[in-house]
């Protein structure tokens, strides 16, 4: 039986100075942002803000310098993103590009793709979305039916993606599509870099239950993608997607989505909390401390070149369960004068997070899928 070992990761000395720099920048940039807006964090976006981060050298931090990156450590990138999330900065537009598309292209992309796209990611000018789910392929990702047909000089894609976050703002999609019917379901899948302005490509936003539109339907009607935009190996899409997931699943955004409400709770509770409030605050602090340690531990493994995909699944399930439970627990334990009615910083934050939290354990792989991955690692399936 495989055992999970999470060892403490110690931040390097330069992390501290960098953290102060990031905090000073955020203080300057976000003086008057409302709490409920901050709570949106990586679900909110601001192209101007993304470009400012690029100018500061805080995007594409781990990418090679020759592609516009900064050759910083994973730890330094971690410091920047956790400070952004805690401050509730509008990081949603560049989030996917910085987190996983950039590293994916750096690892599997062609020289031309790297030269063309990575510098734009690092400048905060190229936003990405992930084309995985389809109407018939949610958790069962290997069943994707959107298909690329070989034509002269490239490929023609037909089909549909769905639940594609930020597609309406993205410049590129990394799409997982079927290019063949291999021996197994996982064979015959290929990743393409698709220009979102391509002819035949249509994006249709889907309003979520809060009335906001983050995710979309994306339709492909004979969309042409040149050969040069195939990423990695034809038929190697499944393996490449799996490698991406360790980046997607272990980051601090998997436990910090509700921190704004925790801070609001501390604010309204003040320095004279009841016994019940103290306990709640203590337990949540213990969770966050543990999850931060676990998340940094996975980052340490990524930095060491290991493949911590299953450890990342552990962090994501524990982290999203926590950030999802937090608004419910706080709602259950607020004082009687809390009404949830709009127009108050605490109420608006709680109200927003109660409604958006169901997505926390869906996006990036559902709870059930993650537990299935862990069970496989335990030798149960």
């Amino acid at each position: 039986m495989r055992k999970f070992h999470f060892t403490p990761f110690e931040m390097p000395p330069k992390a501290k100075a960098l953290r102060q720099e990031v905090r000073a920048f955020l203080k300057e940039e976000m003086p008057q942002t409302a709490s409920a807006t901050k709570a949106r964090s990586w679900s909110g976006g601001d192209a101007e803000f993304s470009r400012k981060l690029g100018a500061r050298g805080w995007l594409g931090m781990t990418l090679p310098k020759k592609y516009g990156g900064h050759e910083k450590s994973y730890a330094e990138r971690y410091v920047v993103i956790e400070e952004m999330l805690v401050a509730g900065a509008p990081v949603g537009l560049h989030w996917v590009a910085d987190r996983q598309s950039g590293p994916l292209i750096a690892r599997y992309g062609t020289e031309e793709q790297r030269e063309k796209i990575l510098p734009r990611i690092a400048r905060g000018e190229a936003f990405f979305c992930i084309g995985m789910s389809e109407p018939g392929s949610g958790s069962d990702l290997a069943s994707v039916r959107t298909r690329a047909r070989k034509v002269d000089g490239g490929w023609r894609i037909n089909g549909q993606k769905i639940w594609t976050s930020t597609a309406q703002h993205a410049h590129y999609m990394i799409a997982l599509v079927r290019t063949g019917d291999g021996e197994t379901r996982h064979a015959g899948l290929t990743q393409f870099l698709v220009d979102m302005r391509s002819d035949g490509l249509t994006v249709k936003p889907i309003a979520n239950l809060t009335g906001e539109s983050h995710f979309n339907e994306v339709f492909f009607d004979d969309v042409f993608v040149p050969d040069s935009m195939l990423i990695g190996n034809e038929g190697g899409g499944w393996q490449q997607v799996t490698a991406e997931l360790a980046f997607e699943r272990s980051g601090p955004e998997r436990y910090l989505s509700s921190i704004r409400l925790f801070l609001e709770f501390l604010r309204i509770t003040g320095d004279n909390p009841t016994e019940l409030e103290k306990q709640l605050i203590g337990r949540m602090t213990a969770e966050m401390w543990t999850l931060r340690n676990m998340s940094m531990s996975v980052m340490g493994k990524l930095a060491a070149g290991e493949d911590p995909a299953v450890d990342a699944a552990v962090v994501k399930d524990l982290g999203t369960s926590f950030e999802q439970e937090l608004p419910r627990l706080i709602q259950a334990n607020t004082r009687e004068d809390v009404t949830l009615e709009t127009g108050d910083a605490f109420n608006d934050t709680l109200s927003y997070l109660l409604q958006s939290s169901p997505s926390f354990s869906l996006r990036g792989g559902t709870r059930e899928i993650l537990r299935g991955i862990i069970a496989r690692e335990l030798g149960l399936r």
Binding site: F6, P8, P13, L266, G372, I374, L378, L380
Partner: protein, 321 residues
């Protein structure tokens, strides 16, 4: 893991495995011969708290029926290894008059078997001889001795030391919980792969797989909490980390014992099968050295006092110098 630490882990596993069925006297002799209580001593193994965790965790994994974690702490506080079995008391009440102690030590692990007890009273370490005490035998739900010792004008050796014995014991229990969970997970995975129902192993049922995944996650969380808290001891003040770690380990134990028993069915409920050696300890250790209410209140009060503005910077400051 460093080579020395791997060696320590191997030695510990061998000694604790070998002594499982021996008498306490015989196993303690082997434990001392292997130098395990002296893991933190300069002239013993010379290790740090991360090394100590290796031994403490193994005590949980093996459900070791001896006060080895307590002896590690006592030895550390005293700065030397006494000749015979030494244990600690997390709760000392009474008064010290010069080198004379009158009072009570409660919840003393293996008090009836130890030759000496280390306790803290008013910021001073007391080293007391078991022979001077009036003993009342008690035990925790796992049957581990937790005795009450009463002293009347007994001779006490005192040394200046400000160790928070209660918090230190909480740290030890956190390590033991992490170790016991490791083993409970292993038993649960092994059992469900063997046991057949409806013509296939239980492990093939999704309902079982999903529960065991949670058990593995909780085990990982407890392991992380213990590792980070023991590491914090090496940096100095670990009050925050101990509180957070005991809280998290207790929660993991609370959720995991339920799952481990559920997937074992009636077999796990028998005296014959090994699971209860772990789960009964996990139940006992959640209460010992502070339950979730205790540590939640203590940690919560501290965080609330510092306020919303300090929360995050305080949290990260503890992991970077």
């Amino acid at each position: 893991m460093s080579e020395l630490r791997t060696l320590l882990a191997d030695t510990t596993a061998k000694v604790l495995g070998d002594t499982k069925t021996s008498s306490l006297e015989a196993s303690w002799k082997k434990i001392v011969e292997a130098g395990l209580p002296a893991v933190l001593l300069e002239d013993g193994f010379g290790g740090n708290w991360e090394d100590a965790l290796v031994v403490v965790k193994a005590c949980g994994t093996h459900a070791t029926p001896a006060p080895l974690p307590e002896a590690i702490l006592a030895t550390h506080v005293l700065g030397r290894l006494p000749d015979a079995m030494v244990t600690i008391s997390p709760n000392a009440t009474g008064k010290c008059d010069g080198d004379r102690f009158t009072g009570e030590l409660r919840s003393v692990p293996w008090g009836r078997d130890a030759s000496h007890i280390v306790a803290i009273l008013d910021g001073k370490v007391l080293l007391l001889s078991r022979a001077d005490a009036k003993l009342a035998e008690h035990g925790n739900p796992a049957g581990e001795p937790r005795d009450t010792l009463r002293f009347e004008n007994a001779k006490a050796e005192t040394v200046a030391n400000d160790t928070d014995m209660f918090a230190a014991l909480a740290l030890l229990r956190t390590g033991q919980i992490a170790g016991a969970l490791d083993h409970a997970l292993e038993l649960s995975v092994g059992y469900t792969r063997e046991r057949q129902q409806f013509g296939r192993p239980l492990a093939q049922f999704q309902a079982i797989q999903q529960q065991l995944a949670v058990l593995a996650e909780e085990t990982a969380a407890a392991g992380m909490a213990a590792a980070a808290a023991f590491k914090a001891m090496d940096r100095g003040d670990a009050g925050f980390e101990i509180a957070a770690a005991k809280l998290r380990a207790n929660r993991a134990a609370r959720l995991s014992t339920g799952i481990a028993h559920q997937v074992h069915g009636a077999m796990g409920f028998t005296a014959e099968y090994a699971l209860h050696h772990l789960t009964r300890r996990l139940w006992a250790w959640q209460t010992e050295a502070g339950n979730e209410r205790f540590w939640g209140e203590r940690l919560g009060a501290q965080v609330a006092q510092r306020g919303a503005g300090a929360f995050w910077s305080d949290l990260v400051a503890r992991s970077e110098a």
